[in-house]
Symmetry: C2
Subunit: 326 residues, 2 copies
């Protein structure tokens, strides 16, 4: 099975060549000092559409048949997958429909629309999203693209880890956040193929620990109410994702909401990079001491940088002018 | 005079080699689209100490005589120069004293102290800063290091532009913000030596337009009350800085507070880079249309990324957990 998975990753790498950004890898001497390790951040917050999701979306869309391309693509998303799909569809000249909950931030709806996709509002419940999507598929005959439970999507996400290993490997440990499981599954496939003895560790908010509990139980737990600021990690694990994780992921670390915020602030303040809360989940274990301490070489996938900055900038605008001398 | 200035820059380049970060250069296709130009951002927000100021401080400190080094160094600063001096002194194993206004953000005082410098509080007025500094020089016999009105400081700052030109040049236009004038003077020296026909344009808040008015009047105006969020640009122009600017700076563009905030938000949101308001001043003219429009190659010095994030993260912490499904 591992060979078949790697073949998909090779295919994704070819399709993304010259299209996706080869995002930079950052280091931080203060983080290395705290974590007593050598840490390498793969900055997918600088990827097209602001997250790694572009890789999976573009890989999937560009592998569609000519007939499928004509029908266009459809998904439901309140976040990064919607933006990624919209951009990939635009670049490939395909129609795209994105079902979005009516309470999604205006900035996200606008981003999807700005890429030329049709935004279709629905009520903010899973059943409404699924129902509305089914209805639109009947109307448009567009091809449904899942955000994570899809081998082409997983293979696309894997290419971030391939690049990280090519540029800065080898690694003793690779960390990635877990939402639906697209990123962690891809990360694990790439790491297993390219590195010997690496440990792939998924990071999850304690308030959305379905992957942790699913692996412990040996079966996928999908019925839970996520309680976390990490909006990209509230999705239940996919079926294929769970199967891959059972084979290739070594451990899962849970982090608290406070640890997520502290890690996000650390990266903003010290590394001057905007990362979203979901990304901070994979940084937090380095700051708490859960990971590191022995000079390990550690790779971290920084998944994205799409954050709603409205409140910050409206506060700044109010307090803007100050007469104080520097 | 230009040759003598360039010789200083060459010396600075040698002293900073292998010490200062060669910061990356970023581009943004959405910015290029808006500005109808090819824009290259030299990301000094990723420099040691979080701003370009490290270059000037380290260059100056490493050029001191053995006797001067023993005496240690002193400055007054509420911002980036204090942090830069403290870090440079630590790296060179020199004592450092930083006079800081008592109302400076705690995070900045802590940063200076964390680099091992002695922080000496003073009242938040220019006269108190100068008085306290004089008093401490008498007590300690430390060498005073000006934040901008110093040829070694200016030569250090110039090295950012040298690197930008080496990596991404040539340019039709180079933009940099103006505070005390250390960065713009260094930028202009480097550009004049390395490029033909380049225009060096300084960017200033309309609420702290002393450089604009000084160049128009042909004499340095230092008595004004700055009204701007760009805390790094509230300093009056230095004497040497003004002389260099009169010879080598082609124009000055003024931007409003609203334009500063919009530019800062653009870079945070689209480029995922934390830049401080002072840096946004040199980005704003590209968004307003004051600069660009004809496919010009434009270099921009992003001066720093030291921003007080307290309010943002305390708001986030309060609203952190949300039960919404992604």
């Amino acid at each position: 099975m591992k060979d078949k998975l790697w073949k998909e990753v090779s295919g994704a790498k070819d399709r993304l060549e010259g299209v996706a950004h080869v995002t930079p890898v950052f280091t931080s001497s203060s983080l290395d000092h705290i974590a007593k390790s050598c840490v390498y951040f793969k900055a997918e917050n600088l990827q097209l559409s602001g997250s790694f999701k572009f890789r999976g979306a573009y890989n999937t869309l560009s592998a569609l048949s000519g007939e499928e391309r004509k029908r266009g693509v459809i998904t439901h998303s309140s976040g990064n997958h919607g933006q990624a799909l919209a951009l990939a569809a635009k670049m490939l000249d395909e129609r795209a429909f994105v079902i979005m909950p009516a309470d999604a931030p205006a900035v996200k709806r606008e981003a999807v629309a700005a890429y030329g996709a049709m935004v279709i509002p629905c009520a903010p419940t899973q059943s409404s999203r699924v129902g509305k999507t089914r209805e639109m598929i009947e109307q448009t005959s567009a091809v449904f693209i899942d955000s994570h439970d899809d081998l082409k999507v997983i293979a696309g996400q894997a290419t971030a880890t391939v690049e990280l290993i090519e540029e800065s490997g080898p690694f003793d440990i690779i960390l990635a956040p877990i939402g639906g499981g697209g990123l962690i599954a891809g990360t694990a496939i790439a790491a297993a193929h390219l590195l010997d003895g690496v440990r792939v560790i998924g990071c999850e908010p304690a308030g959305a620990d379905d992957a942790f509990r699913s692996l412990a139980a040996g079966e996928r737990i999908t019925d839970f109410v996520p309680q976390t600021i990490a909006d990209g990690l509230r999705t239940p694990l996919g079926k294929l994702n769970f199967e891959i994780m059972q084979q290739l992921v070594d451990a899962i670390i849970l982090v608290s909401e406070e640890e997520i915020l502290q890690a996000m602030r650390f990266v903003w303040e010290r590394m001057k990079l905007i990362i979203e809360p979901s990304s901070a989940v994979a940084v937090a274990p380095l700051l708490t001491g859960a990971i590191g301490g022995n000079g390990e070489r550690i790779g971290v996938i920084i998944s994205g940088g799409n954050v709603d900055l409205d409140s910050f900038f409206s506060t700044l605008a109010k307090t803007s002018v100050s007469p104080l001398q520097s």
